[in-house]
């Protein structure tokens, strides 16, 4: 600005131009672009010079090279001879997995605690208050360490187990085990049946809504949908000759000590790193969600509760049918950013050996030394996840928004 004023003092003829907001705006914008270009050029030229001088490889060719390291959890086929690109993809899927499961549990816990914060029971109110305060004010990383190292020591060791759910599920230090469905040829029909059931539910719901709008008659859509989605695949399963069976984890109790415990690769298994990370993320984020839910409910006029009670609704239907739907409008925008935070926080997995995107990418970075490419992948993935989530939530928010007359 100093330059501008000097200019105007020296050249009064151009004063009007200088004071023109459009011209000034243009000047500032050109200045900004110029600075950015210079800065970008500075960084890029330095980087290229540094890479050349230090003889560091660059480019995306490394993605096809065999990775050579293993991983404890892969949702798609992965071996040591898979490529670096595949390794990063495995990490990406693991990030999505922990984020989705974490969001699911965080939402449930968060809503329960948020409603409990407003309970008229003093004990419940106090517990939920201290839950929120304790969890929110302690660093997440510390909580992850707690869940991993403190809880790891509390569960049975590798040669022992806790069983529950009619001996179907088992827990020990190597993880949570359960039956794994194994699909045989012909099982595709079950999938088709499921798709048909979902499609049918969709159309029935549309028809039911139309009918209710027209005649006011309700249709038991929930029960119908449940029946369709469960029965149709089950019937198909029986008709196609039961092409699926459950593979139970194999707990070996004899033989050399090393071989005792659960056999690798038999049955479904969740590794303890996943369990600890999910627990920490869900419990941490739930505390924030609880506060959002509480604020959302409080934002609904108390008259709504009174009116619902006056209509004869009990507490639970009042909450479910009157309060929550209205509170959701207030809740959803901040809820979105909590979901995003959870996804981003899942990158702390690197501290406890959960092979997420940052952890796998970090290993690749170490093996190849290609810092720029790996960090670019990280940034791009998290940014796209952010954008997709906020796009989805915006769409949902628009649907939920109050239609004003």
């Amino acid at each position: 600005m100093a330059v501008m004023e000097q200019d105007s003092a020296q050249a009064p003829a151009r004063a009007s131009l200088v004071n023109d907001p459009k011209v000034r705006g243009l000047f500032y914008q050109v200045l900004l672009i110029g600075t950015l270009i210079f800065f970008g050029y500075f960084i890029v030229s330095n980087t290229i010079a540094n890479l050349e001088r230090q003889n560091i490889a660059s480019g995306w060719g490394f993605l096809d090279i065999s990775a050579g390291f293993g991983t404890s959890q892969a949702l798609v086929d992965y071996t040591e001879s898979s490529s670096y690109g595949r390794a990063i993809f495995v990490g990406f899927l693991n990030t999505l997995f922990v984020a989705v499961v974490g969001i699911f549990f965080a939402t449930i816990i968060g809503f329960i605690v948020g409603i409990a914060r407003l309970s008229n029971n003093w004990v419940v109110r106090q517990i939920s208050y201290w839950y929120v305060e304790l969890v929110r004010n302690v660093p997440l990383l510390l909580q992850i360490f707690f869940w991993y190292f403190a809880v790891l020591r509390a569960v049975p060791d590798k040669r022992d187990k806790w069983s529950f759910g009619f001996e179907n599920f088992h827990l020990n230090i190597t993880g949570l085990y359960g039956p794994k469905p194994v699909w045989e040829p012909g099982s595709a029909f079950i999938g088709y049946a499921l798709i048909i059931a979902i499609a049918a539910t969709f159309f029935i719901a549309k028809w039911a809504k139309k009918r209710q709008d027209a005649t006011g008659q309700q249709f038991p859509i929930f029960r119908t949908a449940l029946g369709l989605i469960i029965c149709l695949p089950v019937i198909t399963y029986l008709m196609t000759g039961m092409p699926m069976y459950l593979e139970h984890p194999n707990f070996v109790e004899e033989g050399p000590i090393l071989r005792r415990g659960f056999e690798l690769g038999v049955g479904a298994r969740l590794i303890p790193e996943f369990l600890a990370l999910t627990a920490a993320l869900a419990i941490y984020t739930a505390a924030f969600i609880a506060e959002i839910v509480r604020a959302g409910i409080q934002a609904v006029n108390h008259g709504q509760t009174e009116a619902a009670h006056a209509l004869g609704l009990r507490n639970s239907p009042t909450l479910r049918l009157v309060i929550i739907p209205q509170a959701m409008r207030v809740i959803i925008p901040p809820l979105t950013s909590q979901y995003l935070n959870l996804t981003k926080n899942s990158s702390l997995a690197v501290a406890i050996a959960y092979p997420d995107l940052v952890s796998m990418g970090g290993t690749v970075l170490n093996q190849t030394g290609q810092a720029i490419e790996i960090i670019a992948i990280w940034m791009a993935v998290y940014l796209s996840l952010s954008l997709i989530t906020s796009a989805f939530m915006n769409w949902y928010n628009q649907r939920m928004a109050l239609v004003e007359r």
Binding site: L141, L142, A371, M379
Partner: protein, 383 residues
């Protein structure tokens, strides 16, 4: 029940209702708040059980079974094979390291002065009733960082050593946690304000650049930012120019928190009624005087709770620097686990518990303050 008359005439006396349930006194309070119905009673019992099962072992570990004095691991080893409690003697032995890191013992007075100045300037600034806010804020935001910088790193003028240089590599513990969190917030404030103004600007390029900057940093996790500052930043600089490791982390943290700060400040700017802008413009004020004299003083006051909340978040997030090999409070505690002198089964739990208590005290205190300010500022501007 059909009658031709539209009137209802009561022919007998209404039944006497029982006296209302007492809601005063201890019993009345308990009845209303704990046992108002069967469901409520069940909830109360379950709640008490949960609370007991969580609190009892914690008290057992932290207080009853705890070892308070001792010189080495012998004192904290479990007696006769039983459970061992918290080993506070170990925390006591390592306490200076948790607070100052490996800062040279004979120079620790410098850190103490910084801590003292920090508290002495922050407390009056935080109390709304204290006068000289503007001077105080200037001292805290401008003078204090400069003084603290020279006190902590050292001062050499023309070859004469006034304060011996202390490498940032030996800083650690709470010192690093506070340096990162406070610098992150103080340095991100001007940048955040600029970005918030940029995002509300009518100039398309400036607006776009601000939005991209803000959304980029808000969209990526802090840990990738820290990795970037520790492995990628050196590649951006010309040959022979290196940044101190702590400084690199500070740059990353500042850019990161500036994006969050920008959104907080934007919230404050949006809360200012349009009349304030129009009034300022009607007085003939240009953009910067208008912002400096009219809008920002009001907006920044409004966003104090938001800034405090951002600070709490950043304060907790500083623990992430341990992943890139720096020793913040948590990192320092973790690194002390490798000392065989104090190696006991309860050492890890004690260390983590200590960290949790310290973080909780700081963050809980700040969040109370934030709520207090929020209530205090809950006036005006609401239409």
């Amino acid at each position: 029940m059909s009658t031709n008359s539209v009137f209802e005439v009561r022919t007998e006396e209404a039944p006497t209702l029982p006296a209302p349930v007492s809601t005063s006194g201890v019993i009345g309070w308990m009845r209303a708040n704990l046992f108002s119905s069967i469901g409520n009673t069940v909830l109360t019992v379950i709640g008490v059980l949960i609370a007991y099962s969580l609190i009892a072992p914690l008290i057992q570990f932290a207080l009853i079974d705890a070892v308070w004095t001792g010189d080495n691991r012998e004192a904290c080893l479990p007696q006769d094979g039983g459970h061992s409690g918290a080993c506070w003697a170990y925390v006591e032995a390592y306490f200076p390291q948790f607070i100052y890191g490996r800062y040279p013992t004979e120079e620790i007075w410098r850190v103490n002065i910084v801590y003292f100045l920090f508290a002495a300037l922050l407390v009056p600034l935080a109390m709304p009733s204290m006068p000289f806010k503007r001077t105080n804020a200037l001292l805290f935001l401008v003078a204090f960082p400069i003084v603290a910088y020279f006190l902590l790193t050292g001062l050499v003028i023309g070859g004469t050593v006034i304060l011996p240089i202390v490498e940032t590599a030996v800083w650690g513990g709470l010192l690093v946690t506070l340096v990162i969190a406070v610098t992150g917030i103080v340095a991100s404030l001007p940048l955040g304000i600029a970005l918030a103004l940029g995002r509300r600007s009518k100039m398309p390029v400036i607006k776009l650049v601000s939005i991209i900057f803000i959304e980029f940093w808000r969209g990526v996790p802090l840990i990738t930012v820290l990795f970037m500052s520790s492995v990628m930043l050196p590649l951006f600089l010309p040959e022979g120019v290196t940044f101190d490791k702590l400084l690199r982390v500070l740059i990353g943290v500042t850019l990161f928190s500036a994006a969050y700060m920008a959104e907080v400040v934007r919230g404050g700017l949006q809360a200012i009624p349009k009349g304030q802008y129009e009034g300022a413009m009607a007085l003939g004020l240009r953009f910067w005087p208008m912002m400096y004299l009219i809008i920002l003083p009001q907006a920044l006051k409004l966003v104090i709770p938001g800034i405090v909340n951002t600070f709490i978040g950043l304060f907790k997030d500083t623990t992430l620097v341990l992943i890139v090999g720096m020793f913040d409070l948590l990192g320092q505690i973790q690194s002390s686990f490798t000392d065989p002198t104090w190696s006991t089964p309860s050492q890890g739990h004690t260390g983590y518990l200590f960290a949790a208590i310290v973080f909780f005290v700081f963050c809980f205190g700040m969040s109370r303050y934030s709520i207090f300010m929020e209530k205090k500022l809950h006036t005006g501007h609401k239409r």
